[in-house]
Amino acid sequence: MLKSEALNVEKVRADFPILNRKVHGKRLVYLDNAATTQKPNVVIDTLVDYYSRYNANAHRSVHTLGEEATAAFEGARKTVSRFVGASSPEELIFVKGTTDATNLVRFAWAEKNVKRGDTIVTTLMEHHSNIVPWQLVAKKKGAEVKYVGLNKDGTLKMDEFEDAIRESPALVAVTQCSNVLGTINDVARICRLAHEAGAVSLVDGAQSAPHMPVDISKLGTDFFAFSAHKMMGPTGIGALYGRKSLLEGMDPFEGGGDMIKEVHTSGATWNDLPYKFEAGTSNIAGAIGFGSAANYLSEIGMDKVRRHEVELLEYALENLSKVKGMTIYGPEDADQRGGVLSFNLSDVHPHDLATILDERGIAIRSGHHCAQPLMEWLEVPATSRASFYVYNSFDDVDSLKEGLEKANEMFGA
């Protein structure tokens, strides 16, 4: 790696106004990026510019503001679809977030296509948004959800997965990167095997799209779900990529304006892709801000983002494992995991740890991380989690380490 290619973290940090904030009088050390990420000035400015210069309803009005808003909204769709390597913008549906995306697939695809006796394959490391929708479909349809188990190091048991798909499941729904263990799954292979077994595949990209180069055309998945707020974009917006042939065969999800071609008292016909799945006024500002975030990330370069996080992770794994009483979960090799570090510290409860760290300006997450089945597997009620992004520095890791040692001291360990 050439030094000149390296990321200039200080330069990146300068783009994020919140990083100047003091918390309890201390420098903010924001390590809760798997929950949500901070926004660069350019994204905030994009929202301000929209609302103060060309706010209008998209698709509906032929006046200048309306045309500008529509052009920016559709421009954002192109940007975001290119960002994840979708083959065409009409395959990219704007939704509220990852959860809305998996539920769209649940209502508009699974409720129609999952039959009594079918199986839906998912894993023990999924976020609730990639579990609960399938439990509900399975219950309604008389199907069964199968959970692929994990190896000790938090990687998927691929043999269990292969057993599971031998039963020709209707759907295989897997995360590309665990929000607790950091485990990166080989979703290209998983999707290939799923397709060979006749299953439709869905990849939860909530923790991958923000942190590593993603190319859907190479992953070969049928559906891919992700959230803007986890990749420097606004809240309330995300995207579902869907393979065109599948989307075309699906009924709409929500009904209302924009998703129709014609409405009569006797019934309605549906609009073309992607509008068929976008009922009502969209989160126009959100989508435009999402595009701006994708542009910002592309300018840094997703390779660099990934490389920086791997470096942070290596540094963190090495240094934090030296802290007394630390149990770190997930794969040991930083190359095989995302920048998410879950752990427990001796008998300090994660919530107490979060409070103690907060006092020092350090924001981590504590709890079940919306992954209770994984907590059961780990046999802990909760974990602490530090998660990195491209604006985090080695100093942030050092601060965390000091905070952990301080907590140990307080708890008398």
């Binding site: 409860h349 994660p350 919530h351 409070t355 907060d358 709890g367 307080m410 008398g412």
Partner: protein, 137 residues
């Protein structure tokens, strides 16, 4: 007092050396409360003698704040009239903990034991009331 201080001064003592931890054989009242966000979980059990809390125990798991405040609360309640819970307020609990600065999420931890104690005590008082008025019906 900052939360770091409170951990040092009061909570940790109770967290390390829980008072009244355990279960009772025979109870006159009990209740369990959980906080789904953080997985805190406490159960309070008590017996009553002469309208007063007799034996009182708590069990469960969770953060130091929820466990310690529940433990302290059992000490505070012991020997008091069961009716006393009607007057027991958030502020009493905060005072008992030394008025720490707690954010809203941690406040829920601090009050979990009080919630369990109140539910248990009201349950007891309600069943007593029915017993006493049972002859009328």
């Amino acid at each position: 007092m900052s939360s770091a201080e409170i951990y040092k001064e009061i909570i940790l003592d109770y967290y390390r050396h829980p008072r009244n931890y355990g279960k009772l054989e025979k109870t006159d009242g009990s209740a369990r409360e959980t906080n789904p966000l953080c997985g805190d979980d406490v159960e309070i059990q008590f017996s009553v003698a002469d309208g007063k809390f007799g034996e009182i125990r708590y069990s469960g798991k969770g953060c130091a704040i929820s466990q310690a405040s529940t433990s302290m609360l059992t000490e505070l309640a012991k020997g008091k009239q069961v009716e006393w819970v009607k007057e027991l307020s958030k502020e009493d609990v905060f005072k008992m903990l030394g008025n720490p600065e707690l954010g809203p999420a941690r406040v829920k931890c601090a009050l979990l034991g009080m919630k369990a104690l109140k539910v248990a005590a009201y349950g007891y008082l309600g069943s007593k009331f029915e017993e006493n008025n049972g002859s009328d019906s």
